[in-house]
Structures are given as structure tokens and as C-alpha cells.
């Protein structure tokens, strides 16, 4: 089983790499992936503005480059050139560390992203558990960002943001537990190999509990990224800008980049867990390079479809009040997630882990055989 992208390349070219070349190849792969993700993050801002314009019946950016597609580059240049203001009452060390923590948490979660069976940077044995741990670094970063600014809006936004992130980790953890049970392992490749490429084999249609679980995971993970309608910690009309009020220029760009990449990671994990991941229909191309590219295309198209849904949800639903946020999490999502977990355990026990499709097929075949003779 392929474990890292370097071992995949070794397998392709039938060579054994020494440590130096391994490190160099890893650096190259990481550099490529981070660049691709940064471009996806930047295009995400552009896509958000265009799609929100579409929903609100206006044009959106269309001046910089054809159809305004270079807008995010212009924004990036603007942010670098802005003056770096550190407020006098701010805590300088933590002011610098907070965006670094957010960005590290999000970038470290890219290491297990299942983009294709060979090109995954590293397929850890504890993949999905590691992902959970690393995304909680973002919560600490949000809190420290709010604290370091030492202003009332920022502190309140930071505390609310951190408590929102940790609250919504509970239903997300419970739903991931359920998917791990269906798959039988923690590594993301195991989770994907338990599904087929055609929709009837996806885990979302495996049993009714995992169907509900998809929505629980989606809502919970969306709330974890502080994204509307759960964006009270950065609410523009209430807390000025929440925990990143006092950040300007490049420091704010790190927070924003971390948020957009995190949304993409959430969509990617949702496709891996529920929508069949990178599996190509009829296994076209096999495991060779062509198959890998097809898997990449399938994976990214599914993730982008979910990303579109995320942006759609943001510009459709109104923002939730903070006590509504907490009530939804603790009194609705957590009991439903617990019920899902118990239900899925019973389903796997009673039906030996078969999905609805397999049970119906078994039933139909048994009936046909019985009726034919």
C-alpha cells in the first residue's frame, strides 16, 4: 500500500531513494501542494465574490484581467504593501504567533489530504485522527489572536470563536467515529477504499445513519471554520471584525488564507469520508500515472462542488446568534450524532456491515432465485 508520495514514485520507477533525495522530493511535493492550495485559496476569494454577485444579481469583480480573474493577485499585492500596524497595547509576541498557529494548523492538515492514491503526501495510519488534532490548533490561534489585540471587540470575538470551534468538534468527532467504524481503519486511504466510484457504494448512501451523518459533519465542520452562517466571531456588523480587528495587511492575509484553505480541507475530507473520494468509475487507468491524474480530477471536482455549496450557504442564510449557535451544537447536533453512532453500530452488527444497496441486491437475487425455480 502506498504510504507517501515518494514511496509511490519509488514504486513507479523501481528505485530506492536515499535520505537526501527523499527530503528533496518531499520539499518539492510540499512546495507544489502549498502553491496549489494558496492559489485555490485566492481563487476561492474570487469565486466567493463572483458567486455572491451572481446570487445578488450584480457583476462582481470584472476589471482586473479577463472576467476579473486576477483580482486575488491584486489583493495580495495590496496586502503586502500595507503598513504593518501593531497596536501599542498589543502583546507583540502573541500578535505574531497567532496567525502562524492558524496557518500551521491548516497547512499541517494538508499532509494527509487524499488527493489521489499515489500523490497523497503521506498516508498516516492515524490519518483522520491526526487531522482532527491539527485543526484544533486553529482554535488556539483564533483565541490568541483575539487576546493579543487587547481590545474589547477582539477579545470577545476570540473567546466566542474558540468556544465555537471546540463545541463543534464534538459532533464532528462523533460522526467521524461512525465513518471509521464503517470503514474499519483510521487511514484516509482505508476510508476511501471501502467505497466504490459509483454513487451506490458511497458511504453517504450506506445506511440512513451515515446519510444524516453527512449533514451533521458538514454543518459541524462549517461551524468550525467560522464561516457563515456561523461567523459571529468575525461578524462585520457586530464585532467590527472580531478577533482579527487589529490585524492589517499581511497578518490579516494569513488569517484569511488559513480560513479559505481550511474550508477546502473540510470539503475534501467530506468527499473522502462520504462521497467516494478519488475513486474513478470502472477503475479507468488503474494505478499508473494516467489513473492518478483521473483520480485528481475526480477528487477536485467533487471538492469544488462542495465548496460551491459552502459559498452558496454563506450568501443565503442569515447569521446565527451566539446562543443559537451553542444550542444547535449541544442540544441538537450532539444528541443526533450520538444517536447516529449507536444506530450505525447496530446496523453494522445486524447486517454485517452491508450497505442498503447490497442488502437490496441480496434480497432481489434471493427472490429471483427462489421464484425462478
Amino acid at each position: 500500500m502506498n504510504q507517501t508520495i515518494v514511496s509511490y514514485i519509488e514504486h513507479l520507477t523501481d528505485k530506492q531513494f536515499g535520505f537526501g533525495i527523499t527530503v528533496a522530493l518531499f520539499f518539492l511535493a510540499v512546495f507544489l501542494l502549498v502553491n496549489v492550495m494558496a492559489i485555490i485559496g485566492g481563487l476561492g476569494t474570487y469565486a466567493e465574490r463572483k458567486i455572491s454577485a451572481d446570487i445578488q444579481m450584480r457583476q462582481g469583480p470584472n476589471r482586473v484581467g479577463p472576467y476579473g480573474i486576477l483580482q486575488f493577485l491584486a489583493d495580495g499585492v495590496k496586502m503586502i504593501m500595507k503598513e504593518d500596524i501593531i497596536p501599542t497595547q498589543a502583546d507583540k509576541l502573541i500578535f505574531t504567533i497567532a496567525p502562524l498557529l492558524c496557518l500551521s494548523g491548516v497547512l499541517a492538515s494538508l499532509a494527509v489530504l487524499p488527493i489521489s492514491s499515489g500523490f497523497t503526501l503521506s498516508d498516516l495510519n492515524v490519518g483522520i485522527f491526526y487531522l482532527l488534532g491539527v485543526t484544533s490548533l486553529v482554535g488556539v490561534g483564533v483565541f490568541l489572536g483575539g487576546y493579543a489585540s487587547n481590545s474589547k471587540w477582539a477579545m470577545l470575538g476570540g473567546m466566542r470563536g474558540a468556544s465555537q470551534i471546540i463545541s463543534y468538534e464534538v459532533p464532528v468527532t462523533l460522526t467521524i467515529l461512525m465513518m471509521v467504524m464503517l470503514a474499519g481503519g483510521l487511514s484516509l486511504n482505508t476510508l476511501i477504499s471501502g467505497q466504490t466510484a459509483l454513487p451506490h457504494g458511497w458511504y453517504i448512501f450506506h445506511n440512513p445513519f451515515s446519510f444524516i451523518g453527512f449533514f451533521i459533519y458538514f454543518i459541524g465542520a462549517l461551524a468550525e471554520t467560522n464561516r457563515a452562517p456561523f461567523d459571529l466571531p468575525e461578524a462585520e456588523s457586530e464585532l467590527v471584525s472580531g478577533y482579527h480587528t487589529e490585524y492589517s495587511g499581511m497578518r490579516f492575509a494569513f488569517f484569511a488564507l488559513a480560513e479559505y484553505i481550511e474550508v477546502f480541507v473540510v470539503c475534501a475530507v467530506a468527499t473522502a469520508l462520504f462521497l467516494g473520494g478519488y475513486k474513478v468509475p470502472f477503475n479507468v487507468g488503474g494505478d499508473g500515472p494516467i489513473g492518478q491524474i483521473l483520480q485528481l480530477v475526480i477528487f477536485f471536482s467533487k471538492s469544488f462542488a462542495l465548496y460551491y455549496v459552502v459559498i452558496w450557504v454563506r450568501w443565503t442564510l442569515p447569521r446565527l446568534r451566539v446562543d443559537h449557535l451553542m444550542v444547535i451544537c449541544w442540544k441538537y447536533l450532539t444528541p443526533i450524532a450520538l444517536f447516529n453512532l449507536v444506530g450505525a453500530t447496530l446496523w453494522v452488527y445486524l447486517f454485517e456491515g452491508r450497505s442498503i444497496y447490497l442488502i437490496l441486491k441480496h434480497f432481489a437475487e434471493a427472490h429471483m432465485v427462489g421464484g425462478g425455480h
Binding site: F31, I86, L103, T245, P335, Y349
Partner: protein
């Protein structure tokens, strides 16, 4: 016994964190040469919608943040304990002792659900505490 994965599998994580650090400090360094630097007192004050900031920032902290964090820790440890158990559930089912694992898992979840119900009934999960009379709370 051989470990099931060589240590190289953690190399990307480490390189990614390194790259995050390089990005942050590199961009700030590059910006130092590119951007203007005219600090004045007004720019560096905290933003409070145009007024001068009044008082410290340690406003109105409420203990409900702490209670939420406590409840979260309990659920987090519960999740971490359940991960190995659900990962091997199917293997146990193939061998035939699925019922025993099912029972132990249900007992584990059941005990914790009782904790959730307790917190719910006593109002610890409410964000805005409704002021109940002592008679109601003593029930």
C-alpha cells in the same frame, strides 16, 4: 518487529509546518522593504468605532466559556478512547464476538449520555442562563 510505517511518513508534516513559518516570516520580511512605516499615536490605538478606548479589555468574562471547555474535554477524551475500539469493531465481528464489542461500546456511550443528560437538565449547556428559582434547581 517492524513498525508498520517508517518514520519518513511524518516528514511532510514537519516540512509543512516549516513552510508555514517561512511563509509568515518571509512575507513580513519582504513587506518590511516594500511598505511604508509612519506610526502615529492615532493609528496605533485600539479601534473602538471612532471613540477613544475606555477601560481595559478584560470585560465581562463569563464562566460559561469555561464550562463549555470542560464539557468539551470530557467528550474529546471519550472520542479518543473510542477510536481504537471502533476501528477494530469489524475485525471482531468477523471472528464472531461482535456482540460483546457492541455491548461494551453501548455501555461506554450510555454512561456518557447520562452525563450529557445531567448537564442538560441542570442548565449547564444553556448559553444564556435562565434564572431558575432554587426550588426548580433542587429537583
Amino acid at each position: 518487529m517492524e513498525p508498520s510505517q517508517t518514520a519518513n511518513v511524518y516528514l511532510p508534516t514537519f516540512i509543512l509546518i516549516l513552510m508555514a513559518t517561512l511563509m509568515v516570516f518571509g512575507a513580513l520580511l519582504v513587506g518590511k522593504f516594500l511598505r511604508p512605516s509612519n506610526p502615529n499615536k492615532l493609528k496605533q490605538m485600539a479601534y473602538e468605532c471612532g471613540e477613544d478606548p475606555v477601560g481595559t479589555a478584560w470585560a465581562n468574562f463569563n464562566v460559561r466559556f469555561y464550562v463549555i471547555a470542560l464539557v468539551f474535554i470530557v467528550f474529546d477524551v471519550e472520542g479518543a478512547l473510542m477510536f481504537p475500539v471502533v476501528a477494530v469493531f469489524r475485525k471482531f465481528m468477523e471472528v464472531g464476538s461482535g456482540g460483546a464489542v457492541l455491548m461494551s461500546l453501548l455501555i461506554f456511550i450510555g454512561v456518557l449520555v447520562q452525563g450529557v443528560i445531567y448537564c442538560w437538565k441542570k442548565g449547564d449547556l444553556d448559553w444564556v442562563k435562565s434564572y431558575r428559582s432554587p426550588k426548580e434547581l433542587k429537583k
